[in-house]
Amino acid sequence: MTRWIKQVGWRHLVAVLGVVFALVPLLFVLSAALNPLGTLSSTELLPTGASAENFSRLLGRTGFPHWFLNSVVIAGLASAASVFLSALAAYAFSRRRFAGRRVGLLSLLLIQMFPQFLAVVAIFLMFSTITDLWPAFGFNTWWGMIFLYLGGALGVNTWLMKGFYDTIPKELDESAYVDGASHSQIFFRILLPLVSPILAVTGLLAFIGTINEFLIANVFLTEGDSKTLAVGLYGLIAGSRDTNFGMFCAGTLLTAIPTVGVFMYLQRYIVEGLSAGAVKG
């Protein structure tokens, strides 16, 4: 018995403590979302009642459905496009030797280190001009927001992917090259399928990052139905923290759905990709 505790038992103990730590705040959110009173001060750790009142108020009386759609579209398109752009760039950095390669890799890292949103004044002024010239890409639009997020597409993701590409033997594409494949065929037919784990991981990270991005979206999306979940939900409790707390928590739970969905969908790649990508930085 003591042997069991020494070898396996403590592992369960650690896992259970970890799970408790993970779940207490989530239980609190669930309890608040189900709380019929919907206020912060009346919320306990365990649900004190079960009502869908908060959910129906959230869906019926706020712009939540719009926010949800905006967030899913913007985060979905922006993360997919950014994964594709950095997959292209990582191919060049991993498989090609060209002048300025090292400088390019280093400058990518450096530009990323500039506190991005402090450029928000510059971005604001720039988009004021864009809104005048091309309203379709200006403030309060999906496209403007997506393009803005794509500015950071190259960067950490490219590094992560380059590390993964490096682990794939170069003999594979060399033999394809000898057989007459063009560089684009090598990239799309041979490399991309092999690196799908890292595509999944960077895609998930980009999706989570974009859904959670608050500051730039807050400056950028000001008009009613254009807001994302982060901006909209923040607005819910900005004025009246206590009274709207139940609705806020209901919104938090609903917001997690797309992330959990993407996570489930990509799950089989995630652990593999995270570790393999990490090995090479």
Binding site: P25, F28, R102, E171, I270, V271, A278
Partner: protein, 537 residues
């Protein structure tokens, strides 16, 4: 780590094909060609579409850049050469427009006094000073006034619609001056009040009184002074009490006779007694913003304290999450533990929750009166009231948000470590702890150091973590701009957009400091792991 199979001779692919015949054969698959034609066609039509507004507004520089960029892209994809460029350009275009350009613009701002009171040109400042000093004098013309806007009634820019009492002509006035409206476009009552005008939204009495403070301060510049409102339905044209004299380059107050001389070094009008007018203009101030952060006592002291705490925060957030994540991953790394998958799913749940929302929830869980933490522990601690407790609280929140990610990463890395290595240490007689120290941990660290560095860089500038929980609180009584949990980034944000007036120039200078610090720390760390990596090859 080079792959064992790839020797140096076979590393590089030939950049371009040696024989032209070979080249023709490659890349000419029909589908590939069709995709290429369609994409380039889309690019050209997008460029043409984008060119029209530029040409209409006579933005010739912008149009030139657009044409040059399109030509460059077409060239890159139509020649068989420059293969790396074909892969790098799409991302680079976005990087340059939306990342590099704003960063350079911000860096340029760091050398100016850009901010509240110093936004526009000297000309703008003179106009603003003159219109602000307008007073009603006997004989001023009186107009009937309607307040309108071109945008949203609650927030759009104000426009005064006024009717000249003599000619009955209606004009619209905004910050740039008066513009006469065609008689057919407006509906005017017999008293001269405008009730509707094409292109403008006339505010109702309720909407107008909600913005009465703005309306009182609003002035339409005219030749001899400005038009201002008295109440919501009358306006007068007053004379400017302060006038600009170009010969002496100064502002003179006509009643008191006091003069403020223009100082182009600091972008303000300054009187002999040192008094500055609030309205100035944007000028280059050299390194003044940078030296101010280092030498001004009221800023340098708190700045240093914030810097130290910023490092502690980033190191603790990264370190504790890594330790906890690794510990649980190691505990679960045994095939003898049942329910491993269930544990994993539950442990990763915090990672799937939207972090911005959970930060706000945690803020409420630390609430003194009805927060969950105090309730569960049966205590009454004012967590965000004291510097120490507030700092512990934000690091605890970071721990909760961050450890599932580290757990996932460590789980993956542990699975990549060959089991034979660990078994070998057992055969050699090492205990579990010693085996972990000597074999597993070093291998884990090789795998995870780059991730830890980027995690550190991220946490160093983790704006949301502070802004959505404490907003930098608690603040010392004598300094309301720099709180105990403030990171450099939240401090900078308050400088740039805070209530006490925007100081974009100064904020930009601090963000350059932040950039330098993070860059130096990361470069040093990357250098140290360089031997283990192939990233510089």
């Amino acid at each position: 780590m080079t792959t064992q199979l790839g020797g140096p001779a076979t590393r590089a692919l030939p950049a371009s094909d040696p024989e032209p015949a070979n080249r023709r054969e490659r890349g000419t698959s029909v589908a590939g060609l069709a995709v290429k034609i369609v994409l380039l066609g889309l690019l050209v039509s997008f460029a043409v579409w984008a060119a029209f507004p530029l040409a209409q507004d006579e933005h010739w520089v912008g149009l030139g850049i657009l044409v040059a960029a399109t030509a460059l892209l077409l060239y890159a994809y139509l020649t068989p050469r420059h293969i790396p460029a074909k892969y790098l350009l799409p991302g680079t275009v976005f990087l340059v427009i939306f990342q590099l350009f704003p960063v350079l613009y911000t860096a340029g701002t760091a050398f100016t006094n850009f901010g509240d009171g110093h936004r526009g040109s000297k000309q703008d400042a003179v106009v603003a000073i003159q219109t602000a000093s307008v007073t009603q004098v006997p004989g001023s013309t009186e107009y009937a006034l309607s307040i309108a806007t071109t945008g949203d009634p609650a927030t759009g820019g104000l426009v005064f619609l006024i009717t000249d009492p003599a000619t009955k002509k209606v004009s619209a006035g905004d910050g740039s001056g008066l513009k006469q409206l065609p008689a057919g476009d407006v509906t005017v009552t017999s008293s001269g009040k405008v009730t509707a005008a094409r292109g403008y939204t006339v505010l109702t009495v309720g909407q107008a009184s909600a913005r009465s403070k703005e309306i009182t301060e609003f002035a339409v510049p005219t030749a001899g002074g400005a038009i201002r409102s008295t109440g919501l339905s009358r306006a007068y044209e007053g004379k400017a009490g302060r006038a600009y004299d170009a010969a002496t380059d100064s502002i003179r107050d006509t009643t008191s006779g006091k003069t403020w001389k223009a100082d182009d070094g600091i972008g303000s009008f300054v009187a002999a007694d040192g008094e500055k007018l609030a309205q100035g203009w944007k000028v280059n101030v050299g390194f003044a913003n940078f030296t101010r952060a280092l030498t001004d006592d009221s800023i340098a002291g708190p700045f240093l304290g914030t810097l130290v705490w910023n490092f502690i925060f980033a190191i603790c957030s990264t370190g504790f999450t890594f330790l906890l994540g690794m510990f649980i991953a190691v505990a679960l790394h045994s095939s003898r533990v049942r329910f491993r998958n269930l544990y994993r799913v539950l442990l990763v749940l915090p990672y799937a929750m939207p972090s911005f929302a959970m930060l706000l929830v945690w803020r409420d869980m630390f609430n003194t009166d009805f927060g969950l933490i105090n309730n569960l522990l049966g205590i009454h601690t004012n967590w965000f009231g004291g510097a120490m407790t507030a700092r512990i609280a934000v690091i605890l929140v970071q721990l909760w948000l961050g450890y599932p990610y580290m757990f996932l990463v460590c789980t993956g890395a542990l699975q990549a470590i060959p089991g034979e290595l660990v078994d070998a240490t057992k055969v050699d007689g090492a205990g579990a702890w010693k085996g972990f120290r000597a074999v597993t941990l070093p291998l884990l660290m090789i795998a995870l150091t780059p991730l830890l560095i980027s995690s550190f860089a991220f946490n160093f500038n983790n704006f949301n973590a502070i802004w959505l929980t404490t907003e930098g609180a608690p603040f010392p009584a004598d300094n309301l701009t720099n709180g105990a949990t403030d990171l450099l980034i939240t401090y900078t944000y308050r400088l740039a957009f805070g209530a006490s007036g925007a100081q974009y120039g100064f904020a930009a200078a601090i963000s350059i400091f932040i950039f330098l610090i993070v860059a130096v720390v990361s470069t040093i760390s990357f250098r140290r792991t360089r031997q283990q990596e192939e990233v510089y090859s």
